[in-house]
């Protein structure tokens, strides 16, 4: 194939890169410098960093995302670990993936029923004599539902890194006299670190900006960065402010990526040893 036909062949992909990757990101940065009247200004950023509401919102979003990620991780790691030991583990991991094929909205909607005043959860709590609670539209239910939705995405990378561990490492560890607990902390856990890192990355970043869940399950009370972006773009039509929050989200996303991308660090560690 000569260069000319190659160039024509590659055009759709290059166009996509330009139009749908570079241009939109650029536009968000560009719009963040304009106010509602369309004048160039730094006011959006000034507002963001001067107002207690936006800073509190940022802190809230980070806190919620952190809790969601932590809960998902605590539930998922043992899950991935035990599945990796099962005989038909391929089948079981398929069962973990299956719920992700069901529309996110439907799962959120299910919780509206489950958590409602006479839903299943309250029925159970009544049955055990714990009384009826108002659960829908609380922060706790928002965090738990978000964690529920993210669990499969946390299990998968951890499971993959567990399955990749060469069985003879474990046998060697036992052979050298390590207990099961020592083998876990000194061999298995360090070797699954990449899996944990990519799981954290996959869960934390979307959790920063959830708006659909906070609206449906959290009610309109919790305003996270995601809901703020949605509000500014679709309700108050203040795209400048919305873009500014967007830029803050993008920057925090990059920070998370840098913190969890440890390929280079790992090499450094190896050299140090």
């Amino acid at each position: 194939m000569n260069k000319g036909t190659k160039a024509i062949f590659m055009t759709p992909y290059i166009l996509w890169l330009g139009l749908f990757v570079i241009a939109p990101v650029g536009l968000i940065f560009y719009y963040s410098f304009f106010n509602v009247q369309g004048q160039f200004t730094l006011d959006n950023y000034r507002n963001f960093f001067a107002s207690g509401t936006y800073l509190a919102m940022t802190a809230n979003s980070v806190l919620y995302a952190f809790l969601i990620t932590l809960i998902a991780l605590l539930i998922s790691y043992p899950m991935a670990y035990y599945i990796s030991k099962l005989k038909h583990r391929d089948l079981w991991i398929l069962l973990v993936i299956l719920p992700t094929w069901i529309n996110l909205l439907l799962k959120a909607y299910a919780f509206i029923g489950l958590l409602s005043r006479d839903g299943l959860v309250n029925n159970l709590s009544q049955f055990f004599g714990l009384g009826v609670h108002h659960m829908l539209f609380t922060n706790a239910s928002f965090i738990l539902v978000a964690a529920y939705i993210q669990i499969p995405f946390m299990i998968l990378p951890i499971y993959n890194s567990l399955v990749d561990i060469n069985g003879s490492f474990i046998r060697a560890s036992h052979d050298l006299g390590a207990t099961t607990y020592q083998t876990f902390t000194k061999i298995i856990l360090p070797l699954t670190k990449p899996g944990i890192q990519s799981g954290v990355q996959i869960v934390f970043i979307p959790s920063l900006s959830l708006f659909m869940l906070s609206r449906l399950i959290g009610g309109n009370k919790i305003i996270t960065l995601g809901t703020a972006v949605e509000e500014h773009f679709l309700t108050t039509m203040n795209w400048g402010m919305g873009s500014t929050i967007g830029v803050v989200l993008i920057i925090s996303m990059v920070i998370v990526m840098l913190l969890t991308n440890t390929k280079k660090k790992k090499r450094g560690q190896l050299n140090a040893k």
């Binding site: 909607y109 489950l114 949605e230």
Partner: protein, 272 residues
């Protein structure tokens, strides 16, 4: 690593699997309830399914969603595969890395950012919001996942396969159609199915770029759910669950068909 799971492990697995599936089961069970809320099962009925199928608007939205999913997956599979070639053929390491990073931007960006930035983009180009803006957006965010599914196949293909075809006198287009495409086909199929799930699952991006006239299922469920429980949605989730299952089965059928070929090879290698 494989050894036996402990008793506690088994109990834990069962517990979490129950948690994972209860919400889904709950939804579907109540789609057969005579009541109007997801509480206190009132006896079996198919009324909600009948309502759903009689709902012309819902049917149209369902068809729209499928149309968008199929069309966008088809187009993104083609462009994503081309992109995989672009990355694979990049001579310099630096170019390759840059292309891969650009490719992953849409994969790691929060949906809200993608939706908002696409909204700005379409508005500044005066693209009317509706079918076309939704279709273009879906194509856009599906391309990177297709690329990631195809690229590993391209990378593991031995360059001597292409040299061998050249050596035997094949032209570049013959090599592409008879050697390369069949080789990377499993990656292309996986990419296509991933693209379909991304499209069917998307809510946030569509919500931003859909405008007034055009709706997909996710957006429709969202606006109905905000108004409270409506067992027609439960019926819809029943249908979509079956639909997802069929999709999974079709995919795994195709996949295992490919894998069984690979297995035979492994067996032979083990024998030698």
């Amino acid at each position: 690593m494989q050894s036996k799971a402990s008793k506690f492990g088994k109990f834990y697995l069962i517990f979490i699997f129950l948690l994972l599936y209860i919400p889904i089961a709950y939804l579907i069970i109540y789609s057969f309830s005579k009541g109007t809320t997801m509480a206190n099962f009132h006896g079996f009925t198919l009324k909600h399914y009948q309502d759903l199928f009689a709902d012309k608007r819902m049917l149209a939205i369902f068809l729209n969603t499928i149309l968008i999913a199929l069309l966008s997956s088809l187009i993104s599979t083609i462009i994503g595969t081309i992109g995989a070639f672009a990355v694979h053929n990049a001579r310099k390491r630096h170019t390759k890395q840059t292309l891969l990073s650009l490719n992953s931007i849409l994969l790691v960006s929060p949906d809200v950012i993608i939706g908002a930035s696409f909204l700005i983009f379409f508005t500044s180009l005066s693209v009317p919001l509706g079918f076309w803006s939704v279709l273009l957006s879906h194509i856009a965010f599906e391309i990177p996942i297709v690329l990631l599914m195809v690229l590993p196949r391209l990378n593991e293909m031995s360059p001597s396969l292409i040299n061998a075809a050249l050596d035997l006198g094949a032209t570049p287009s013959q090599i592409l159609s008879q050697i390369i495409i069949p080789y990377i086909q499993p990656g292309i199929i996986a990419g296509f199915f991933m693209a379909i799930t991304y499209s069917l699952d998307d809510f946030a991006v569509t919500f931003f770029v859909t405008g007034n006239g055009f709706t997909t299922l996710s957006v429709e469920i969202y606006s109905r759910a905000r108004q409270g429980i409506d067992l027609e949605i439960n019926a819809l989730s029943g249908i979509m669950f079956i639909f997802s299952l069929i999709l999974v089965l079709v995919y795994y059928f195709i996949e295992s068909h490919n894998v069984s070929k690979g297995r035979k090879k492994n067996r032979l290698e083990a024998v030698e």
